[in-house]
């Protein structure tokens, strides 16, 4: 006795159409992201970069189309501008290294040692700052490091005075801001390392640090690179932090772009090429390590 049930045929014309025409599937999938990428992202970037070759009317600050390399010459002929570019690069690298130094031990603890409850608490603690406003966090750091602020009043009994508003404070604040972007990929990567690799390593006589150096770090490399792309490029473009906690000598590339953007857009555009160049070099360098393929 066999009962055959034929499913009721429901007509799905859209699915059928898409199944028959491959190009329609592609258009449906890609039109929106491509419009975004090319129409808004690339075009606006190109328009900005073109401005770098334009002139400016010195009185009215009106931009005049044309072709000049003066804006670039200005950047490379002025020692202060070069110093600012190098300082920005240094700050971005310092933030990246500092974030990595914090993220690796924290990630190992969270993934391999902490109880599930503790792990949840730490995960929330890392991501919680992302819920607070960017400016709020910067102002919080400002209050912390001001002369009569939290840091100095707590440290006073030990005879320690804080860095005040300086480049160091900028590095600390940027690390505070971008740390989650490093910590999360690193933590996820460490979780994926099988526990028995740790056991095998210790069975072979390796100590904790040897294990981290020879087993964990090589496996972590792609995650560290992924995190560093965030911490590095986000730090490169920032100027609000330098403005609020940087003190007198922490001018960054963004500060110069911001002060020129209304008065002299061509110079601002020319200057924006520098962080782009830094990031491209950085990506090329990381590509050579092969980390990008495994990301």
């Amino acid at each position: 006795m066999t009962i055959t049930t034929t499913p009721a045929r429901t007509s799905k014309p859209l699915s059928t159409l898409l199944y028959r025409h491959r190009w329609m599937r592609l258009v449906g999938l890609l039109s929106l992201p491509l419009t975004w990428l090319i129409g808004l992202y690339i075009v606006s970037l190109a328009l900005l970069l073109v401005t770098a070759f334009w002139y400016i009317d010195s009185f009215t600050s009106k931009v005049i189309p044309g072709f000049t390399l003066e804006n670039f010459v200005l950047i490379f002929s002025e020692p202060a501008y070069i110093a600012t570019s190098l300082r920005t690069l240094g700050i971005a690298l310092a933030v990246t290294v500092l974030s990595a130094i914090f993220a690796v031990p924290l990630g190992i603890f969270m993934a391999k040692l902490a109880s599930p409850w503790m792990r949840a608490v730490l995960a929330v603690a890392i991501t919680l700052p992302l819920w607070a406003g960017y400016l709020v966090k910067i102002l919080a750091m400002r209050i912390t490091f001001t002369e009569e602020g939290f840091f100095n009043s707590v440290m006073a009994p030990f005879g320690i005075t804080g860095p005040g508003f300086s480049v160091l404070t900028v590095v600390l604040t940027l690390t505070y801001l971008w740390f989650p972007y490093m910590a999360l990929p690193v933590y996820t990567a460490i979780r994926q390392i099988p526990v028995n690799l740790f056991d095998a390593s210790s069975d072979l006589g390796a100590h904790g640090f040897t294990t981290i150096r020879t087993v964990v770090l090589p496996l972590l490399w792609p995650a560290l690179i992924a995190g560093s792309v965030f911490t590095f490029s986000l730090s490169l473009g920032d100027y609000i932090v330098a403005r609020f906690v940087g003190g007198a000598n922490a001018q960054m590339i963004g500060s110069i772009i911001a002060s020129n953007i209304n008065l002299n857009p061509p110079v601002a555009a020319a200057f924006s090429v520098i962080p782009i160049a830094f990031v491209v070099f950085y990506l090329l360098a990381t590509r050579r390590t092969g980390a990008l393929e495994r990301m």
Binding site: S58, T60, S61, K62, E78, T146, F165, F244, G247, N249
Partner: protein
């Protein structure tokens, strides 16, 4: 007709991009500077309100407390856009989407020469009369080539603010914020904008007369270099620069800085005017004076005129000045009440002697506005570039 007018003003604005034939010999022997300003027609007579008006203003200039009454009286709904800097105001005005702007002196000249604002017909503004304090009438940037482009709102000086617990005696000179051997080195604050170069120039004008600075906004290359050197020297004793008013207030309250440039209103905001003193030192200082200007592309000129007149009355002008913390343009406000008189006293509204020492922000341009014709002065672009080098 409107289309035609707009096209005309656009063409003239473009043709005025270059300041050609500047420094033409002053006519009528008044020593007045002549600028090449595009012909923009002036409103001849007041018509019906258009229903709404779009205003770019400093924070505190357009508030419901007086804007709502205006809407009730005239039927013009006020759309406010708050701008943070003069440069932003200029950029916004160039879009042509706004009818009015509360321009400071460092924006107004650019707007006028760029053809972005139209001359003003004083006959249509009964409140723009004799009550406007003398110091705010006839400013260079409000009366170019014999035309009026701005309706004064208020003014203020950039004062020297100090923490009286540390700086126990009222400073007579700006030297404590400029000289490397300042007793307060490392605890100084300075304004974070290229226009602050003028503050250095004001100091040099007094202490180094051999430089020959006549006007802090007309610096030739040597004079600018001297000002930049002074600012670089100051950089070694600066704790931090401020552009954001809140940052400046917290800098004083938090003890990071004990002396530096400030506005009377910021001192008021510390809510401790005993602890934080303010003074106008012997060298004088820079300052600002703001005026309403009407866009050459305004699509609501009638509402704009009504607004300019409304806000020039003693009551409303005083309300704006009190709210923002500056000296009102309309002197009649000071006689309205005891509080008004006290406000005028605190902000030196009627004290022309006080403001004689104040150099209102003006856009530095290649044409020397101190009247020199044998040299070229440095433009605001030069100042902006110089400013970035000061902070290294």
């Amino acid at each position: 007709m409107r289309q035609k007018l707009m096209a005309l003003s656009a063409v003239s604005a473009v043709s005025a991009l270059m300041l050609v034939g500047c420094a033409a010999p002053a006519d009528s022997g008044s020593g007045e500077l002549v600028f090449d300003v595009p012909e923009v027609p002036m409103l001849e007579s007041l018509g019906e309100g258009e229903g709404q008006v779009d205003i770019i203003a400093w924070s505190g200039f357009v508030e419901p407390a007086w804007a709502d009454t205006f809407t009730e009286d005239t039927g013009c709904v006020v759309n406010r856009k708050v701008a943070g800097t003069s440069d932003e105001m200029v950029q916004l005005m160039r879009t042509g989407d706004y009818d009015l702007v509360s321009a400071s002196g460092d924006a107004s000249l650019r707007l006028i020469v760029g053809g972005d604002v139209a001359p003003i017909n004083r006959d249509l503004l009964p409140n723009f009369g004799d009550d406007i304090v003398p110091g705010m009438q006839g400013q260079l940037y409000d009366t170019i080539n014999g035309k009026v482009y701005g309706v004064p709102i208020g003014r203020g000086a950039n004062i020297l603010q100090y923490n009286t617990e540390v700086v126990t005696e009222t400073p007579e000179s700006w030297d404590i914020v400029w000289e490397a051997d300042s007793p307060y080195a490392g605890q100084i604050t300075a304004y974070d904008a290229p226009i602050y170069i003028a503050d250095a120039a004001v100091y040099l004008m007094y202490h180094q007369p051999e430089l020959g600075i006549q006007n802090p906004y007309a610096l030739d290359e040597t004079q600018l270099a001297a000002a930049v050197d002074l600012l670089k020297q100051q950089n070694t004793i600066v704790a931090e620069y401020w552009a954001d008013p809140v940052a400046q207030i917290t800098s004083f309250l938090g003890g990071t800085t004990v002396a530096g440039t400030s506005w009377e209103v910021l001192r008021k905001f510390t809510e401790d005017t005993e602890k934080f003193g303010g003074t106008l030192p012997v060298e004088g200082s820079t300052g600002w004076s703001d005026a309403w200007m009407i866009s050459s592309k305004s699509d609501a000129p009638n509402c704009a005129y009504l607004w300019m007149d409304y806000t020039s009355s003693a009551e409303v002008n005083g309300a704006i000045a009190t709210n923002f913390g500056m000296a009102p343009a309309n002197g009649a406000f000071c006689e309205l009440s005891d509080e008004a008189a006290a406000h005028c006293e605190q902000f030196n509204a009627l004290n022309e002697e006080y403001f004689e020492n104040v150099w209102y922000w003006t856009t530095p341009i290649e044409q020397c506005i101190d009247g020199r014709t044998e040299v070229t002065c440095t433009s605001f672009q030069d100042w902006t570039n110089a400013w970035a080098t000061i902070k290294g």
